[in-house]
């Protein structure tokens, strides 16, 4: 009877919060709810409110986490790395489907405007193991919430946002949902945005540092997402289609006088899934089709390069509740990857399959998960990649949970690594990461105040790290050259205070990361035991939110320490300190809510670069009007 109630609770939770059911990370808190122990891995959850106030994923993560964002500037390519690993070691999943390009293994975070998802979860280090191959650093999970079929308040909901900002930026986004009869649900999201990005900067690369306006940086993005869901008795079936188009000019560095480069990206993403439960089983089955086109042109040198990729990604996740203490986990992923590019001699295809099997459960105050991931990619067969995680709630101090996790993950060479002509190396081996972490979580409410803190030490070894270097005749070619050790410490602290109509919350995130080469060829001694390039040792961000009735004020601060840009650590980009401030006012009229929000970014007008010689915007403004009904 107890078991059934657990399953029932799970189902309710699942329908409310999205695709959480078969995801053990989120799964655990619900299973072991009775024990009041939270997740044992390090994760960060960014909810709908947080995601709404920013433009894209890169900015969202920059302000709310300590993952490192490498940005080529406003609207330009942005990549994300966790815990000192590379951008290709970050998996990005959309409702469980990995979107990473089979060509370069990466994701351009500037192409993910926040209106297209409701929630973002970050899985650090070993917690990314559940998300599949390749997450040597961690993973970013973009989630669309499942509809709430029990919502009886309104059958039609509408949300519309219009933002206008510096550099001729204009963003329209909207969402309409309709809960029909017989448990049918429809939802449409649209976005259109454009910007000139003609920001003014001081050109430190020129005599007398003249003030210049960035050229060739205009951007236009549009897209829509359509979802249809139908709920049956113990099962929900959904289909979601997402089209996205981006067309932008690529600005040059401050040192380049002439440039005429453009990039067009187009994505078609189709996802069909069903979730449900039967007896002691719960399941989630999904199939997705992801098609990406990228066209790069450089008129000056007459280059017009086309890249096409197709992913067919199928998941069957089945959990079996052995008893109220132990759950059997089973996740099968059959993924077909296919790509063609001007840089390849012919089209390349491969299967990237994995099978995860394990157990999760609780024993008194101990909460545990053990699983193994078996992978088959092309000719590689890796039968063993285990992971274990433990959480223990202290008997006398129930607000403290000790946690530890460890695991192994592999990242397979990308098509570019293997087949790019010239240079590709078909003999590459997969990169392997051995990861571990330990720490504690503390959460306690003192009257009107709640304090939450989580502190995690991590340690990881990445071997066979693939590195591109010039070989004979100036041709760049990749090899499994490096062995890297990553270690560090992550700390978060949140304080919430509530008094009558006043809400105050203070949040701080800090990460200390040491990421160094521990094995290198003899003549490159100067890079041995040195911090990897573009990995800051210290990152800190904090925010303060104060709201009173319908007005709220927030202040955010981000610090990034210096990043070395040469492997011998002789060159570096200086540290930067950015502050953003915003004020927001809600006006409620019957069933309609208006919200007006004004934001100042880079309040103190700091000159900084995220990537060498790419100017970042000085003080800039954005005004957003939102309408909800």
């Amino acid at each position: 009877m107890k078991l059934i109630s657990v399953i029932f609770t799970l189902f309710i939770v699942q329908t409310t919060f999205g695709q959480l059911l078969n995801d053990t990370i989120k799964f655990e808190p619900f299973v072991i709810e009775e024990l009041a122990v939270s997740a044992t891995y390090k994760t960060t959850n960014l909810d709908a409110v947080t995601t709404k106030s920013v433009e894209n994923l890169a900015q969202l993560l920059q302000e709310n986490s300590t993952v490192f964002i490498k940005s080529y500037g406003s609207g330009s390519l942005a990549s994300v790395s966790f815990r000192g690993t590379g951008a290709g070691h970050t998996r990005v999943l959309w409702n469980g489907v990995s979107l990473n390009s089979p060509m370069n293994g990466q994701i351009d975070f500037s192409l993910y405007p926040t209106p297209f998802f409701d929630k973002v979860e970050l899985h650090y280090g070993a917690s990314g193991l559940i998300d599949g191959n390749g997450a040597l650093g961690g993973s970013v999970n973009l989630q669309n919430s499942l509809p709430n079929f029990n919502d009886s308040t309104k059958s039609v909901k509408l949300n519309y946002n219009y933002s206008i900002g510096s550099f001729n930026k204009q963003i329209h986004s909207g969402k309409v949902s309709y809960l029909g009869t017989n448990n049918w649900f429809y939802e449409t999201r649209i976005l259109h945005s454009e910007a000139e990005n003609d920001l003014v900067y001081h050109n430190f690369a020129k005599k007398e540092n003249p003030e210049e306006r960035q050229q060739n940086a205009a951007l236009k993005q549009y897209g829509f997402q359509q979802a249809i869901y139908k709920k049956f008795k113990n099962q929900t079936v959904g289909i979601r289609f997402w089209y996205f188009n981006s067309d932008r000019n690529l600005p040059s560095t401050m040192l380049v006088a002439k440039n005429d480069e453009t990039q067009q990206d187009e994505s078609f993403r189709l996802l069909v899934n069903t979730t449900g439960f039967k007896n002691k089983f719960s399941y989630k089955i999904s199939t997705a089709l992801i098609h990406d086109n990228l066209i790069y042109t450089n008129k000056l040198i007459d280059v017009n390069s086309k890249n096409n990729s197709l992913l067919i990604d199928n998941h069957v996740d089945v959990n079996y509740f052995i008893n109220d203490k132990i759950t059997f986990l089973n996740k099968v992923n059959v993924r077909h990857e296919q790509a063609i590019a001007d840089g390849y001699n012919n089209e390349h295809k491969r299967f990237n399959n994995s099978w995860l099997t394990g157990f999760s459960g609780n024993f008194k105050r101990l909460n545990w998960t053990v699983f193994n991931r078996m992978t088959i990619v092309d000719d590689f067969f890796k039968p063993i990649a285990p992971s274990v995680s433990l959480g223990y709630q202290l008997p006398k101090l129930e607000s403290v949970t000790l946690k530890a996790a460890a695991g192994i993950n592999h990242n397979y060479p990308t098509f570019n690594d293997l087949y790019w002509t010239p240079g590709g190396n078909p003999n590459l081996k997969p990169e392997e990461a051995k990861m571990s972490e330990a720490g504690l979580k503390y959460q306690k409410a003192f009257g009107k105040t709640t304090i939450t803190t989580e502190n995690t030490f991590f340690f990881a070894h990445v071997s066979n790290w693939i590195l591109w270097q010039p070989s004979g005749g100036n041709i760049w070619s990749p090899t499994n050259l490096k062995k890297v050790e990553n270690k560090g410490f992550e700390s978060t602290l949140t304080i919430k205070y509530k008094l009558n109509k006043v809400d105050l919350s203070i949040r701080g995130n800090y990460a200390y990361t040491i990421s160094k080469n521990i094995e290198l060829p003899k003549n490159t001694d100067n890079a041995l035991n040195k911090q990897l390039i573009y990995v800051p040792q210290h990152q800190f961000n904090s925010s303060l939110n104060l709201s009173y009735k319908n007005t709220s004020l927030s202040y955010g601060y981000q610090y990034t320490s210096l990043r070395y840009i040469s492997t011998d650590n002789n060159w570096y980009l200086p540290a930067n300190y950015i502050s953003n401030v915003s004020i927001s006012q809600d006006v409620k009229l019957k069933t309609t809510t208006f919200n007006l929000r004004f934001q100042i970014n880079n309040l103190f007008n700091q000159t900084y670069q995220s990537i060498a010689w790419r100017p970042m915007p000085l003080r800039n403004y954005m005004l957003t009007l939102a309408l909800n009904l």
Partner: protein, 354 residues
């Protein structure tokens, strides 16, 4: 409880303060070992290492080396001018008592004062300039990557005065002999002959795959190194007679993976040196390629080669992993290592000042 909160708030505020208070006015990439000490003007400042830097990183630098007292100054251009040299410094020359530096990805040429390294002029408007070759005291040719032209530069007013259209989109090293410029055409595997008085193309001579460098020997033969492309064909060292316009000798490298480059000649114009993983030396009278190396790379990544005009010592750069400072090794004529010093990132060209 409120005490605890106030402690935490004060702690956070202090933490933020420590992060903000140690601010220093640094903008853009900074180099730790550049401009460490003042440049001492000296006629013994005789070697300039041109460090390409990394594409897009804007970390091209010039290293000054004094072969007598062995003093090294890194980043002299930035130090003398307060702005960086640019993105990808390709090559440098000494001409009309000035230093000429071709900065490829910044589409410019810097003309630099020999004594204090300040910029006298910046010639802009190139597409992707590679090499510079004076044809008389006031005019020079500039080869280009991704552009079907050789730019003609007027060195009196430091502007581009015209161009010669080629059907190549990658021209590389050049030399002038008897009113004719000989230009390596990497994309068509040709040697392009240009009349330097009327700037007309005279001839296109087929050579090996990808001719990258060339020198003139004492018998007035031109030696051309063709690297063979990326496993396209075997590399070749070609001896070309410019007077008869005939190839006199083609020496083919045995291994298709070999990609020789950096062909140079000593002062006597009798001995050729080049890089083919290791350093090789060959007398111009030899009719076959050297079978053993002159100096082994010993695990280093040889990236550029130079020969000192007076000491006859061989300078070779080790580019290591291409993302850190190179080491320059100086070898005596008897193949013994005489000295080593650190330069900048990707030392791709070595210039000797008279």
């Amino acid at each position: 409880m409120s005490k605890l909160i106030s402690h935490i708030v004060v702690g956070l505020a202090l933490l933020m303060l420590t992060f903000t208070s140690c601010k220093k006015e640094e903008f853009g990439p900074q180099c730790k070992n550049c401009g460490e000490n003042a440049i001492t003007p000296s006629i013994q400042n005789d070697v300039i290492i041109v460090n390409e830097g990394n594409f897009g990183f804007g970390n091209a630098t010039l290293t000054l080396y004094n072969s007598t007292d062995k003093n090294v100054h890194n980043g002299i251009f930035q130090q003398a001018n307060n702005y960086p040299l640019g993105d990808v410094a390709q090559s440098a020359y000494y001409f009309n008592e000035k230093i000429v530096v071709v900065v490829n990805n910044s589409n410019k040429i810097e003309i630099i004062d020999k004594a204090n390294f300040t910029s006298i002029a910046t010639i802009t408007g190139f597409d992707s300039p590679r090499y510079f070759c004076p044809i008389n005291s006031s005019t020079a040719y500039v080869s280009n990557l991704f552009s079907n032209k050789i730019d003609i530069v007027n060195l009196m007013n430091n502007t581009i005065s015209g161009s010669i259209t080629t059907n190549s989109n990658w021209t590389e090293e050049m030399l002038v002999y008897n009113d004719t410029a000989y230009v390596c055409d990497m994309s068509n595997n040709k040697l392009v002959l240009i009349n330097t008085t009327n700037h007309q193309i005279i001839d296109n001579i087929s050579v090996g795959i990808q001719p990258n460098s060339l020198v003139l020997d004492k018998n007035n033969n031109i030696w051309i190194m063709c690297d063979g492309g990326f496993n396209e064909a075997n590399a070749q060292l070609i001896k070309f007679n410019p007077n008869l316009r005939t190839i006199e000798q083609s020496l083919v490298f045995g291994n298709i993976n070999h990609s020789p480059s950096d062909l140079i000649i000593d002062n006597s114009k009798e001995n050729l040196y080049f890089i083919n993983n290791h350093i090789f030396k060959m007398n111009i009278n030899h009719t076959s390629l050297p079978t053993s190396n002159w100096v082994s790379n010993n695990g280093e990544v040889f990236y550029s080669l130079g020969i000192h005009p007076t000491t006859q010592e061989i300078y070779v750069a080790d580019a290591k992993d291409f993302v850190q400072n190179s080491t320059i090794s100086v070898y005596k004529n008897n193949q013994q290592l005489s000295h080593q010093f650190q330069s900048g990132i990707n030392s791709g060209h070595i210039l000797f000042l008279p």
